[in-house]
């Protein structure tokens, strides 16, 4: 057995419980397909694509919520382009030294390194500036295109699937890798949700309260790198950042609390993914583009809903103010509670 084959089989052995889960999932969707007569559920690749889409619909807005509210919406785009360089590195190594490694794994590694670099640059210059972000973005993409062009003869796969995403090229292995990324992202956010929220909302107060802001920033950008690589399979490098931003922006229009905005952004993202995949299947269009267009449509509806909500809320405001003025229960005197009407 050759070295690359050994590596591949070692990875497959690691992922084997997930392969078993994927089979189960596929059987379930086949059954749903037969019961409902939905044509798109008769293909195995579609089962995997839908699962990847559902996972992306959770992890992208989950991380995106923290990014958007820190005004870091563009970091996803920058990391997606460096992930493309990672894909190119993987394809290059496979062609030159026959490494047999999934380009998605090399993309994870390169995107994580780029994420740390962006974070370290911002720590030393004391700001996330769009100039350094733009430099990282174009460097990543330039490196990717250069590696692919000098190696064009040895490539058996088109890079289109990485640039634009492709439902039909979601292999069992890449779906299993996505499941691992999903577990890591959800697990880390579940554990550090308090800290990430504090750092996102009020960095200085978080630091005063004893949190290591720079460590949580590093965790944040590395999770972003994982999400970007995971979502790249169906969204493509160019559109992947939209899933981090658009559902979150929509949710912010209609949500009152942070928890609510997290849940709403996941619901909006899942809606966009499922509708987008279905429409793209029946219309024969690229899934990534359709998913983003649906997401933007949902965002537009959320803006309208938010405006209506605010208008209704404004009518209720004087009532709230008078309740506060009458029922101030501060131990230090009612005058504290009865000030500042809006």
């Amino acid at each position: 057995m050759t070295a690359p084959a050994l590596q591949a089989s070692a990875l497959d052995a690691l992922l084997s419980p997930l392969y078993w889960f994927l089979e189960l999932w596929s059987a379930l969707l086949s059954w749903v397909g037969e019961a409902t007569g939905l044509g798109l559920l008769q293909y195995g690749f579609m089962h995997r694509a839908i699962l990847v889409g559902l996972c992306v619909g959770i992890i992208a807005p989950l991380i995106g919520t923290f990014l958007v509210h820190r005004q870091l919406a563009l970091i996803g785009d920058a990391l997606a382009h460096t992930a493309f360089a990672g894909v190119a590195v993987g394809l290059f190594l496979n062609a030159v030294v026959d490494l047999g490694v999934s380009p998605y794994l090399t993309a994870v590694v390169v995107a994580m390194i780029a994420a740390l670099l962006i974070e370290l640059i911002s720590e030393t210059t004391d700001a996330y500036n769009d100039v350094s972000m733009a430099i990282v973005l174009s460097t990543g993409f330039a490196l990717g295109t250069t590696l692919i062009s000098i190696n064009a003869g040895g490539l058996t796969v088109s890079v289109d699937q990485y640039l634009f995403g492709n439902l039909s090229t979601v292999t069992t292995q890449s779906a299993a890798i996505l499941l691992v990324l999903f577990a890591v992202v959800v697990g880390v956010v579940a554990v550090t949700r308090n800290q990430l929220l504090y750092v996102t909302f009020d960095e200085t107060a978080a630091e005063v309260s004893g949190l290591s802001v720079s460590w949580y920033n590093r965790i944040m950008v590395m999770l972003t790198a994982l999400v970007v690589v995971g979502a790249m399979q169906i969204m493509g490098v160019i559109l992947v950042a939209a899933m981090l931003v658009v559902p979150v922006a929509g949710a912010a229009q209609v949500s009152r609390s942070f928890t609510e905005s997290l849940l709403v952004s996941v619901v909006l993202a899942e809606l966009a993914v499922l509708l987008g995949i279905a429409i793209s299947y029946y219309a024969g269009a690229t899934a990534g583009g359709v998913v983003v267009l649906v997401a933007v449509g949902i965002y537009a509806l959320a803006v309208v809903a938010g405006k209506i909500q605010t208008a209704v809320g404004e009518e209720a405001t004087p009532e709230m103010g008078s309740i506060d003025a009458g029922e101030g229960r501060s131990p230090s005197g009612g005058q504290i509670a009865s000030d500042d009407a809006d």
């Binding site: 308090n194 309260s209 504290i336 500042d340």
Partner: protein
Amino acid sequence: MTDDAVVDLADVAFGYTATPVVEEISLRVESGEYVAIVGPNGSGKSTLMKLMLGLLRPDSGTARLFAEPAHEFDEGSRLGYVAQHASASKEMPITVREVVKMGRFPHVGFGRLSESDWERVDEALDTVGMTAFANRRVTQLSGGQRQRAFIARALASEADLLVLDEPTVGVDAESVDAFYELLNSLNEQGITVLLIEHDLSAVTNHAERVICLNKQIYFDGPTDEFVDSDALARAFGTAAGIVGGGR
């Protein structure tokens, strides 16, 4: 005596570049004091605050917080920090209760808030008179209401040092008075208050002690003496005419 001090700076100097922003700073803040730090724009007030809280390390001299080197101090729950949030326009969807809840984060770490944690949150909301606004989105509040939410966060963390960096910037005049009433009553309950202010009228009306800063300390003493002294004119230069002209 040294061990009682909440803040203890000895001959502290600090500069972001070779030029010092503050120098020759020696001061002590005892538990239960209500101290205001005033000075013109760019006088190093916020830098001094960061040195006191251990967010910056002095280039020379020592900064101690609750008798520990300030940068090593890790009981974050004892510190409450309120910044100029009223003027910041964060569009993040978050309710007043969720903001106050953050005060419990240093206590719970990676865990969930227990029932008693939530009780502390509700008590803090009650103390600042914001119970009726608990489920309101912070962006919908007036500047004064928002600042009271941030005070409540410090109360929920059971902080015994409250540091406020120009908290009333962008808050309407009527709310400012009520805001200082609240600070007074919290100080009477034993919380040490450290107020960084640009608005001199607020300081002279409320604080017990004034530290007047412009790179160095120009005055440190009781508020009455500060009003009579010429420290203001020396520290502020020609800008001294703004006394009483609060925003």
